[in-house]
Subunit: 383 residues, 2 copies
């Protein structure tokens, strides 16, 4: 397959946060998706931290969640006005130690942080793809990451790690490229999406698609369905938290101290204000069509695809698996992580279950760093 | 307070399902809401089953849930083309035995099944209230029911019973009119709404209010925001079910057997189809503004209002309480029912906790009749 780097830059291997772009799949050698459709050229935005060794086998791939980006670590940069989303775990002396490992994180296929997605220009027509973008899967995302690693000279991964949709990619890696890594760390995720999570995704998509400004996906270069996307995020935010965390943080507290406001229709409880804040924050940084395609990819995620059963897919894994659940997670309840480990252990494969005892729900993988660090350390040391 | 029956009918006391209307609160004697606002006249749609005895003390009040109606029992009628929503529990020889008891059920204030709500004509202007309807509370609903019972000649209730928002009314009855009943049966509810449930209500309201056809509530006599209301119902439906029930019923089954459809954006999993079905079904029978006002009333529900604490409010109860939780309920998790019973027992009050072991989630109170019947029977016998 023809591999070209559209920016003609060599990968800058350092600890600074510089997002680069690798491009491949130029016609007629387009990338063939799981669906059989062809897509290309494909840009892949990525960041790297640390140095790749001469044998190309000290690399770790970090996979991001639904609305994440390649900016997993490093401070503020021109591209990202915020710290990396796993900055607490990646860096010199941290569990994903940049003094030892070459860390790679790339924006997923279908995303909107530099990798080709529905907001990208379809070169065949010179217009954004919009809803003409093909349906992509988590497996496609992983196969695109494989292209990037080949380009970067990575011969073998020490581990793949990610939480939520990043954990879905991690386990997909374990099944699709069983000989390419020693370990896989899958946090707050599963090898397939269960119906309640599909249901939550569908109401989020519906919120976007009912917004008249969505306009069947044709809203570029405008802001698009900001109200619909905000509502989708509000729904998502409920599932990222827990009943317990909401009780502790908000209880029945109102935004206003004025008792007379209590019976006004627009008066809000603090928990409502919190949802609106998070809805409003996402629309400033995320593309609604990407939200549609990435949640659809979550729904379609099932490592069994091409196997006779979930068990058969899991039994094909050769890497050592660390599967982590969060006690209060309602989006990926812990039985889903335990199930993976149970099946793998039944097949005498190396799989470890670790549970983070936390009230923070699904978001725990972005919060409970003090609890995550020790077991990641131990797991990497034992690989 | 002036009490007038707008239809000038006497209550028909029988086992047939005939919805009648009682009207009160004509100006200048309007009903004064918890908020201090005045509302009137107020129509109250109600049904009764069985005979009131001479001393007026064999009555049972049944309270309905969010989108329910006064049609709790009885078969098809001119008004309702369906069986009553608790038909399995109400009738001759059933737990709420119409041979023994005089059963009353009325549509709640703010509803859209005959009782005054936002779709009703505001006589002052000759137009529907829409969003000029005042914010009402569960306490207001209960106080309206009290007016109805006075009109019907009920001197004392054997029990008040309801599930979900009906259970919220039941416990509000216990606090607001502690001397008026022997028992209270509160299923899958609580004495106040917790923040996660408020959050789910808010995203549902947001779905309605973002629909352009909502038009700030001014859509009568049109259909109004059918897409927004359907989405609100889809969100609600997730919370009425459970992860377990969705896994059992739907798993990852697709609507189409055609494998080629798998990667089409519009292809649906069966769980999605189920949500769409329930969303579409509600819009045929429910008013979107009522949905807004009733969910707001749920949010505001807190028996502590006027007391120094939740505990103080609960300690004022004199009735024997049967508080029922459903093991898989995510909207009103069982700790909320246990909390009521724990507090009451601490104050040496008669409170019993019963848990329905069921995978059906919150909807269990409309499904698990075989499990509900025995403990309702025992509770009523012991009153």
């Amino acid at each position: 397959m023809a591999v070209q780097n559209s920016l003609s830059t060599k990968p800058i291997v350092n600890d600074k946060s510089i997002t680069q772009v690798f491009t491949f799949g130029h016609p007629p050698n387009q990338f063939i998706l799981t669906s059989g459709e062809r897509l290309g050229p494909i840009d892949v935005a990525y960041e790297t931290y640390g140095q790749l060794n001469g044998s190309g086998d000290n690399a770790i791939l970090i996979c991001h969640a639904l609305t994440g980006s390649a900016h997993a670590a490093g401070g503020y940069s021109e591209t990202f006005k915020s710290e990396g989303w796993w900055d607490s775990l990646i860096g010199p002396g941290k569990p994903f130690d940049t003094n030892r490992y070459f860390i790679v994180c790339s924006n997923i296929l279908g995303g909107c942080y530099g990798t080709t997605g529905p907001a990208s220009i379809n070169p065949a027509i010179g217009q954004p793809y919009g809803m003409s973008f093909p349906v992509v899967t988590v497996r496609d995302m992983v196969r695109v990451q494989r292209q990037l690693l080949r380009y970067l000279g990575v011969k073998r991964l020490v581990t793949v790690a990610g939480g939520s949709m990043g954990g879905m990619q991690a386990i997909e890696w374990a099944v699709t490229y069983p000989d390419f890594m020693d370990g896989v760390i899958c946090l707050a995720a599963a090898g397939r999406l269960y119906p309640q999570a599909i249901a939550f995704n569908e109401v989020g998509r519906r919120a976007i698609m009912l917004d008249p400004k969505w306009n069947c996906g044709n809203y570029y270069p405008g802001q698009g369905p900001v109200d619909g996307l905000a509502l989708a995020r509000m729904i998502g935010t409920i599932t990222y938290k827990s009943d317990e965390s909401m009780n502790k943080r908000f209880g029945r507290k109102l935004c206003s101290d004025d008792e007379e406001c209590l019976f006004k229709f627009d008066e809000k409880f603090q928990v409502e204000d919190y949802l609106h804040y998070h809805g409003g924050a996402l629309v400033k940084r995320f593309d609604a069509n990407s939200y549609l395609y990435l949640t659809k990819a979550m729904d379609l995620h099932d490592i069994s695809l091409g196997y006779n059963s979930y068990e058969e897919a899991l039994s094909s894994i050769k890497a050592s698996m660390l599967v982590v659940g969060i006690s209060s997670d309602i989006l990926f309840p812990t039985y889903q992580q335990k199930e993976i480990v149970d099946i793998m252990q039944k097949h005498n494969l190396e799989a470890h279950y670790y549970e983070i005892d936390s009230p923070h729900g699904h978001d725990g993988f972005l919060i409970e760093f003090d609890k995550i660090k020790p077991f990641v350390d131990v797991f990497l040391r034992n690989l």
